[in-house]
Symmetry: C2
Subunit: 707 residues, 2 copies
């Protein structure tokens, strides 16, 4: 992505015009408006998802309840079970098909991809309308299908897509576009909007505007400043607020604002804690960290396994339906688990139902309602009722793990312990709790859940704030922080976090915050791309065309031909011109026979309008006659006059800081005479990655695939 | 400050050694330990301040109460009033003297200075032991003196000082130093530690670890990354936790942890709000923004007035005692106010006391307890009791304002509405509230206080979190956010925030996040310093000595003499060497007669040990014989081999981004042949500043004084 702002003759001219002041004010104002609408849009989305899930789940529950009631008397209890399995499997399959055939980008939680995008990697199809629809429908279907999948990833992703869409200001209408406004059509602005969208998605999902903002800052955004954080915070706040209003309106009391988010563990009664409880929390947190990193390892193994498998076409086809995941890793495993682990536990549930007769069946709460409902009752109901069932479920899961021989199944079941499915930890904690004979379980369950999450995600600050905002209790925040911190440390000792692992596995050249350690002896000359493809400042169109179609480089150094060299294309660096600029220039035919002045004129808008260029303007679509190819194009007015450069003696950490601090996409390496001799791209830098495993530092040089 | 990391032959050699891996691990581990101790130290500090204030205030109150009780019967009520005024004035004068004569850096809230420091400006004496002591004693004295001053600024400042002290790892002991460890002795590490110290100071003061971290990120720190935020968060958490333990222990129940901070408005009963209340909040917020910016304007006027006055020595001397401020702007005005406004209100208080007899006197709560106690009762007690007294106080203040003719007094009284003294707003809100006849006042008072603060400080996110963490109620956070947002907007429309204003007035070259707008036409050549003072890579010691004593530049470009030029000192840029390196090299006598090899050897530690160099090593202290001056010094092993450079055609925003993104102190401007032709320092950049006043954009070129 081209995050760097241009500095060409053209931009200088246009920005110095008299209207630039007015334009600046307009931009500032309209950006606030857009951030406002991002918040509102995300809120509508969140409320829509929530309401549809609740409505349909209610229908499902009613249906099954009827059968239960009927069969309880007749003794045909297998019927509702079968119907339940059937409905869930059906819904899940629809979701899986949607993701597989409509837009594969909508698979997975979406957060790793959003993170990569904000780090500066263009992920094709990530922000498309298709991905948006698949994501939204997919998340509804997966929750309805009884899958253990979280809303925060999908919400962050679809919030980001919506923000990008709003930023582009363009409505696709039967193949044509209706242009509304074009102020934000560059990578820089769209990136900021996507960060805001992700934050408002999380904010709407949890009712946690501060947490959402921090999430965006900590986990997702790579380049930001105070101004941006304010805007992100603003839209997160609006999102939280509007979700609140919408859900309150849905429940019939639009002015009371009692629904601050989709996931809401009711407010706890005043949680108090004593100093002697801290060691217990630490112990729980350590276990959380351990299980969290175990989860990450298993997820890693499974992902690698799937990647390998997907190479073999024959296997792939047969496994597609069961292997693909709608909006979470959990589809296939949930289906499996439904068939293996549900049986023992539900048998017991059925027995409970049979013996208690009219009394409310606790187990049905755990299996038939939405995940939040389940979580809520786990956290708030008294101990006696649940520990038994939780244990039974835990037992069932263990059983399923042992029974299912092939490693795939083991991993699959393990993966069911997905981000938002705290069941295993809960069960563990509940068991532990029984041994401790303490009074209130909710507290420990909360710590357990937090540390499990912390062990998986490793996002300490934002997670703390989100949990605090969700539970509505601030005094307990200190304990949550402590447990998150410790579980992060324990987890970090073994593996990286889930998102980072996902990014790593998918081979995306993400740049971390700091240069990898022990790289001082690596120099630019070791990793720069050579030779560079340079252009003259007045260049033949044919050569430009050949360059564009022959190479996939994104930026081309422009040089001034040094007459003293016989060798072509050698001279002092004058500027850098980007691929998309060249494409636009060719498209607009901004060239002329040698010695003449071009007749066409071009302004900044023409470069921004066909955003995003790589999708909308391809070199194959541009047709040039042979006469055209003999013309020359003057690149001087359009090129970036002052590209950042590195000298050949720069070491790796220095180049890294330059890239990371300025958000560069490519850097021209020059020699002492300011002649370009190489280019460094983020792929070259991302090759070097340091890893801390089991307390030891490893350095590896990755081979990053081209994409 | 030299935030950039060095990249010389020497560092490369030392970092590639076999021990570098071990050293890296050691550094990582010990940095966590240091961050831990920063938290603990700040907590001890906070608890110490809190406990001493409470103990002494209790003594004071007891004393006055005795007199009140005696005089109530005898009818000599003027006596306790006089005693009260006497004690307060005495304490305040001690504080003022402390600041004036011991360390002037301890005056003011400290936050603007810490902010400047973290932005990269070296503020002499800011992090000294003297400042620390004056600050700590000063804040205790000012609170005891009944001044309206906040703890968060002093706590942030002294936390920062403590962090820097811990980082230096050196105990001053009767003029000598005991060296403990030297791992963190460079600007880069110390900066990070100071950020953590400031965060833990705020965290300990408010019991708000998240808020403290955010404060450090939003307001203070200018360069940071996720790793740093985690460490800052860690120490903030430790600080909050330890304060908790310490204060609980002071109250006799060390394991219950019921004291999460110094400022704690007790937890509110469940605050609910309705949609129709939002407009009221918005209205309050707008008023808060207006009064906030009014406060900033008055503060500005007063500061400028004081600066002008302090030029005239004669006036200065006479006004010193009444003009200087201990840890807040409020001393002199508080003294004035005590003599003008206290009289009417206390007369009434006395009358109350007289008529109600045995009943608890509400007014005495407002005047005799610590500010927190006052705030607490304002926020929590029922309406009837306070609105009257608040009104009376408000009236008294208005009266004082009208009575005191000269503008100094007006400003002085206005300034009494200091950061933590919410009285005026409260009174306003309470009056408003009476008109609305609502049930609970606390809610509106909270919103009023928040928006007043927001209007003054303009730190939306961290303030929201701090207030939410202080009140312990998360559901109301949305309203607080909203009101902070609006008051910020309203305030921003008129002025900048208080801290930024302070920084601006004191002429510190602070670099904001984004380059000033409309600067595209300003080029490097317009603002770079010319000519540059260059050194040869093998340079005569005499010339180096002359350079160092003659110029105050911090970095010198090192060039390779081009034999084709007759003109001395012209050639290709080879590196940059810093002033403090040259000082150390001269001190260590790393030179030799021409043609020989130097006998002494030097390692990285030698450069780091005398940190901070400008204070500890002066050019005047280095004595060189004439023979020494004829020697030559080879700078090649020590200089920074790969300085970041800018070409002459760079525009202002580009240079700005380079500076801001990489945290540079100076940038060498080179021509096409990589010959240094100029230097850009942060002072050159800070000259250009854009201001938005009343919705219009102004561009000004400031003259930054040399310091």
């Amino acid at each position: 992505m081209n995050y760097e702002e241009m500095d060409s003759h053209l931009t200088r001219k246009e920005r110095q015009g008299k209207q630039s002041k007015k334009k600046l004010a307009l931009e500032m104002l309209s950006s606030w408006v857009v951030y406002f609408f991002i918040g509102v849009g995300t809120a509508f989305l969140a409320a829509g998802v929530q309401i549809s899930v609740e409505l349909i789940a209610h229908q499902k529950f009613e249906l099954i309840k009827d059968y239960f009631d009927q069969c309880d008397k007749k003794g045909c209890l297998f019927k509702p079970v079968l119907i339940w399995v059937g409905i869930n499997a059906g819904i899940t399959l629809v979701g899986a098909a949607l993701v597989t055939y409509v837009q594969p980008m909508a698979a997975g939680s979406g957060i790793p991809l959003i993170k990569s995008y904000l780090n500066g990697v263009r992920v094709p199809g990530l922000l498309s309308l298709r991905a948006f629809i698949s994501k939204c429908v997919g998340v509804v279907l997966s929750i309805l299908g009884g899958l253990a999948c979280g809303k925060e990833g999908p919400m962050a992703h679809s919030g980001g897509i919506m923000a990008a869409g709003l930023g582009k200001g363009r409505i696709p209408w039967f193949g044509k576009d209706i242009n509304l406004y074009g102020l934000f059509r560059n990578d820089h602005n769209i990136r900021d909007l996507v960060a805001a969208g992700a934050a408002s998605g999380v904010s709407a999902a949890f009712g946690a505007p501060i947490g959402g903002t921090l999430f965006s800052v900590e986990e997702a955004a790579s380049f930001w400043n105070t101004e941006l954080v304010w805007k992100v915070f603003f839209s997160a706040m609006i999102a939280c607020f509007s979700t609140n209003v919408l859900l309150s309106a849905f429940e019939g009391h639009p002015t009371q604002l009692s629904n601050p988010g989709l996931v809401r563990f009711n407010v706890f009664p005043n949680l108090t804690f004593d100093l002697i409880e801290i060691p217990v929390f630490i112990f729980i947190a350590a276990i959380g960290g351990l299980t969290g990193s175990l989860f990450v390892v298993m997820n890693y193994k499974l992902t690698v396994f799937r990647q390998k498998k997907s190479m073999r076409k024959s296997m792939r086809k047969s496994m597609r339906k069961s292997m693909r995941k709608p909006s979470s890793n959990a589809t296939r495993c949930a289906v499996l688990q439904e068939c293996t682990s549900r049986l023992p536990s539900n048998l017991r549930a059925v027995r409970d139902l049979g013996c208690s007769g009219v009394s409310h069946n606790a187990m049905s709460t755990m299996f038939l309602t939405t995940p939040e409902g389940c979580l809520k009752s786990l956290l708030h109901d008294p101990l006696g009722e649940y520990s038994r069932h939780a244990t039974s479920r835990n037992f069932a899961q263990l059983l399923a793990r042992l029974v299912s021989g092939p490693p795939l199944l083991v991993s699959a079941v393990a993966i069911c312990v997905d981000v938002n499915c705290y069941h295993v930890t809960f069960a563990l904690i509940l068991n532990l709790e029984k041994a401790f004979c303490a009074k209130d379980v909710g507290k420990y369950a909360l710590i357990g859940a937090a540390s499990q999450l912390g062990g998986i995600l490793r996002t300490t600050i934002s997670l703390t704030v989100i949990i605090v905002e969700c539970t509505g209790d601030i005094t307990f925040g200190l304990c949550i922080m402590l447990s998150l911190m410790i579980s992060k440390w324990v987890g970090d000792f073994f593996t990286t976090g889930l998102y980072d692992m996902n990014v790593e596995v998918s081979g995306i050249p993400l740049l971390s915050w700091e240069p990898p350690p022990l790289c001082e002896d690596v120099h630019v000359s070791d990793f720069m791309s050579q030779p560079v493809m340079t252009l003259l400042s007045v260049e033949r169109v044919g050569h430009i065309y050949d360059c564009l179609s022959g190479e996939s480089f994104n930026g081309f150094p422009v040089i001034e031909q040094d007459p003293s060299y016989d060798l072509m294309y050698r001279g002092k660096l004058k500027g850098v011109i980007l691929r998309h600029q060249l494409l636009v220039l060719l498209k607009k035919k901004m060239f002329c026979p040698e010695g003449q002045m071009p007749t066409a004129s071009i302004c900044l808008k023409d470069f921004e309008n066909p955003y995003p260029v790589p999708q909308r303007l391809k070199i194959q679509d541009i047709e040039l006659s042979d006469a055209d190819k003999q013309c020359v194009m003057d690149l001087t007015p359009y090129m970036n006059l002052t590209p950042y450069t590195a000298s050949i003696s720069f070491s790796m950490p220095r180049v890294f800081r330059l890239f990371r601090g300025l958000g560069l996409r490519h850097l021209v390496v020059v020699n002492d005479n300011t002649e370009p001799i190489g280019m460094v791209t983020r792929k070259d830098l991302a090759k070097y990655r340091a890893e801390i495993k089991k307390g030891m530092l490893h350095m590896e040089q990755l081979t990053v695939e081209n994409r």
